[in-house]
């Protein structure tokens, strides 16, 4: 009797498990509303509130859509988590994609082609195209700028960058002099490069672009680390950290937005972090480098996953999410890739924290002339390989030229793949 009971229980459990595995609720052929999911790396409550608002408006006219959710994944592990979801058969319907991994996503065939609007700037869509087709909408085309803690700069007895721009002396030598003065006189950090932390070396392109340096050639085939512009730029960075002491050294965390540093080179969308700042601040373009004035643009795209469960519905929602009207709303956080919307009027309305002059000089001019940040196929492996090879540079007595040649010997096999 007991035995039979046990057998029955075991059979029932097995049946339940089998039924659970089969789960029919996600069947794409079944009618009824479908749910959409977009993975993002922002955890900013204002961003998600705006996304939810756009999604709610869309759902009103589209009864076939059930729930639209925005799943926030931490930035550091974003691409890893996203590809793991895809590999595990749980691909999101839509996903934010970093410009650095754009070639991987665009060339692999992981994304559905989407419609290209004539209003989109060709310079903004270039990274996301293959064979004339657009594979992701570059919803954020954000130039890098320098946020300045003017209180700290003045306390160190230095002219503010705004004054130096007026005097025509806003260049890297002056920026380093200011950073060094702040570190020496106030004990706070001088110049901080956002997301660098002596590991995310690609963030340094906000500096080396001023020397006309590139990590690899435009076609991605040959290494640029051992070329003269890069050697000069990295020598400058090394000197700035260890000799001039204008940048906090490795192993220290310095948060500009908490008032711990005089300047930070970062995306202008970080302005939101300054809303409650207790210090006076300014936003200025990157200082002039030996190669002249320059700017660098960071990008993020939204793609429709081919292996998501509802690619067609996702495409339609993406078209709505990024149309003229919604793009104008998104512009308060993410500079739009649309010609018609790159005006100081519209940007000023969307970015009340920034002055029209700042928007013109940093955002509009920046997008028009800016280099898009570094990217390559197989980016993660390149990123890690360069990181490991570049580590010996972050010591006071490093031989810059030797370290950079070492970087090239490590990444050449990867570039030639």
């Amino acid at each position: 009797m007991k035995l039979r009971l046990l057998t029955a229980a075991a059979t029932a459990a097995a049946l339940l498990a089998a039924a659970g595995c089969g789960g029919g609720s996600d069947d794409p052929t079944s009618s009824g509303p479908v749910d959409l999911r977009m993975t993002i790396w922002s955890a900013n409550a204002k961003h998600t509130a705006l996304f939810d608002q756009i999604a709610a408006a869309y759902q009103k006219d589209h009864p076939e859509i059930g729930k639209i959710s925005f799943e926030s994944i931490p930035f550091d592990s974003y691409t890893t988590a996203l590809t793991t979801q895809i590999g595990g058969g749980n691909a999101p319907d839509l996903a934010w994609i970093l410009e650095s991994t754009a070639p991987d996503f665009v060339t692999s065939g992981a994304l559905e082609p989407i419609d290209k609007d004539a209003d989109l700037l060709p310079s903004a869509t270039k990274t996301w195209e293959q064979d004339g087709k657009l594979f992701a909408y570059p919803f954020s085309t954000s130039p890098l700028g320098v946020f300045v803690n003017t209180d700290l700069v003045t306390a160190a007895g230095r002219p503010t960058p705004a004054q130096q721009i007026a005097a025509g002396t806003w260049n890297w030598d002056q920026a380093v002099a200011t950073g060094a003065a702040v570190q020496a006189k106030t004990g706070k950090g001088g110049i901080v490069v956002g997301d660098f932390d002596f590991k995310g070396w690609d963030a340094l392109n906000s500096i080396w672009a001023g020397w006309g340096a590139r990590p690899w050639s435009e076609d991605g085939k040959s290494c640029g680390f051992d070329q003269q512009p890069m050697v000069d730029a990295m020598t400058f960075v090394h000197k700035m950290v260890f000799t001039d002491k204008a940048m906090p050294g490795p192993g220290r965390t310095t948060d500009f937005f908490a008032g711990d540093a005089s300047m930070v080179l970062t995306q202008i969308s970080r302005a939101a972090l300054l809303e409650k700042a207790k210090f006076k601040w300014d936003l200025v373009p990157l200082p002039k480098g030996p190669a002249g004035e320059y700017s660098v643009v960071g990008q993020a795209g939204i793609g429709v996953m081919k292996r998501g469960k509802h690619a067609d519905e996702a495409k339609k929602f993406l078209a709505y999410f990024t149309n003229q009207e919604n793009s104008a709303k998104l512009a308060q956080f993410f500079p739009p890739p649309r010609k018609s919307q790159l005006t100081t009027d519209l940007l000023a309305k969307a970015n009340p924290l920034l002055k029209p002059a700042q928007l013109q000089s940093v955002v509009i001019d920046g997008i028009e002339r800016g280099d898009i940040k570094t990217s390559h196929t197989g980016y993660a492996e390149l990123q890690q390989t360069v990181r490991a090879a570049l580590d010996p540079l972050w010591k006071p007595d490093a031989d810059v030229k030797a370290v950079l040649s070492g970087v090239c010997s490590k990444i050449n096999p990867l570039l030639s793949k």
């Binding site: 895809i86 065939g109 993660a380 990181r387 490991a388």
Partner: protein
């Protein structure tokens, strides 16, 4: 099938069966569900939940990993192509594998030696009948129950160049003697030492408790006899304590070796394998290959290598026990 009675019995005890009448007599067929079979089935049913777990979460994944290691699996493109032994050939000429194995060996050796000796030392110390031992036992054990990542993140702050540990060195006034705290997580050697120490303090409490239990199982009369024989404290420890707790030493060393080969979270949080590749241990390297570089097939190959190493070391320790483990219950 129940045998049918042919005719009613003529008198008690006389039962005639159909078979016996029509065929030559054979022994009655034994029922299938004998006591033995019932016990066997019950036994299987009792272990079934555990067995199902092992099959679903160990055997099947292991088989799948072996299967994946024969493929080139591109997650983004969604391609899964059979490549035979090419991942294994890649393993033999991967220039990054040697450093990863070295880092793993260094980490394991450092951790196992430090962990076992510190755990035993603490256990002996806290086995004394002194005031306050309960407090110290709790203190040393508490890291074991702290979330690993939380523990590691706090240590990450302490180990920064301007972090708590170097500030403490300054407070001691060592910097005036020209001794500056190193930039712990940015130096090749100090980064590895830091990771070992962080893991040491996290796990030493567990081994300490195991040793403590073993020490309390050593009969007091043996010490008494040794003392009467004139054995010194060291001799009592060496000749009485160590042999009697050797089964626990074997257990803790197997657990610690296996655990040390699987270190991941500390590396991911503290150093991400750097500086250079000095702390890229095998598990972190396979994570990079599979999850960051999207070479899932090659990652699976590395994980099989790790499996073989763990298995070999465990078998080796188990075999060696005859040489030095005093008694087994």
């Amino acid at each position: 099938m129940t045998p049918r009675l042919l005719t009613p019995p003529h008198h008690p005890g006389q039962v005639l069966l159909e078979k016996q009448v029509t065929e030559p007599p054979v022994a009655a067929r034994a029922p299938y569900w004998t006591m033995r079979r019932r016990d066997e089935l019950a036994g299987w049913l009792f272990v079934a939940p555990q067995l199902a777990g092992i099959v679903a979460f160990v055997i099947v994944p292991l088989g799948l990993v072996a299967w994946y290691s024969l493929h080139e699996w591109n997650v983004l493109a969604g391609t899964f192509d059979f490549v035979g032994g090419s991942n294994y050939r890649a393993l033999t000429d991967d220039p990054r594998l040697g450093p990863a194995l070295r880092a793993t060996g260094f980490f394991s050796l450092g951790l196992v030696v430090l962990n076992l000796s510190l755990a035993l030392f603490l256990a002996v110390l806290l086995n004394q009948k002194l005031r306050g031992t309960v407090v110290f036992r709790t203190l040393f054990f508490s890291p074991v129950v702290v979330t690993l990542v939380a523990w590691t993140i706090v240590w990450g702050f302490l180990l920064q160049d301007n972090g708590g540990i170097n500030a403490f060195i300054d407070v001691l006034g060592l910097n005036t003697l020209g001794i500056d705290g190193p930039n712990w997580l940015r130096g090749d050697a100090t980064a590895m030492i830091s990771v070992i120490i962080v893991q040491l303090f996290k796990g030493v409490g567990l081994n300490m408790v195991l040793f403590l239990a073993a020490l309390q199982g050593v009969p007091a009369e043996l010490y008494e006899a040794a003392r009467i024989d004139g054995a010194s404290a060291w001799a009592r420890f060496r000749r009485v304590t160590v042999p009697l707790i050797s089964p626990t030493i074997l257990l803790t060393s197997i657990l610690t070796v296996v655990g040390s080969l699987q270190v991941f979270a500390q590396i991911a949080v503290l150093t991400q394998g750097g500086p250079g590749t000095s702390t890229t241990v095998l598990v972190y390297y396979l994570y990079q290959q599979a999850f960051q570089f999207h070479h899932f097939g090659y990652g699976a190959t590395i994980s099989l290598l790790l499996f073989v190493i763990v298995l070999a070391l465990t078998v080796l320790q188990w075999r060696m026990r005859r040489r030095w483990v005093f008694h087994e219950s």
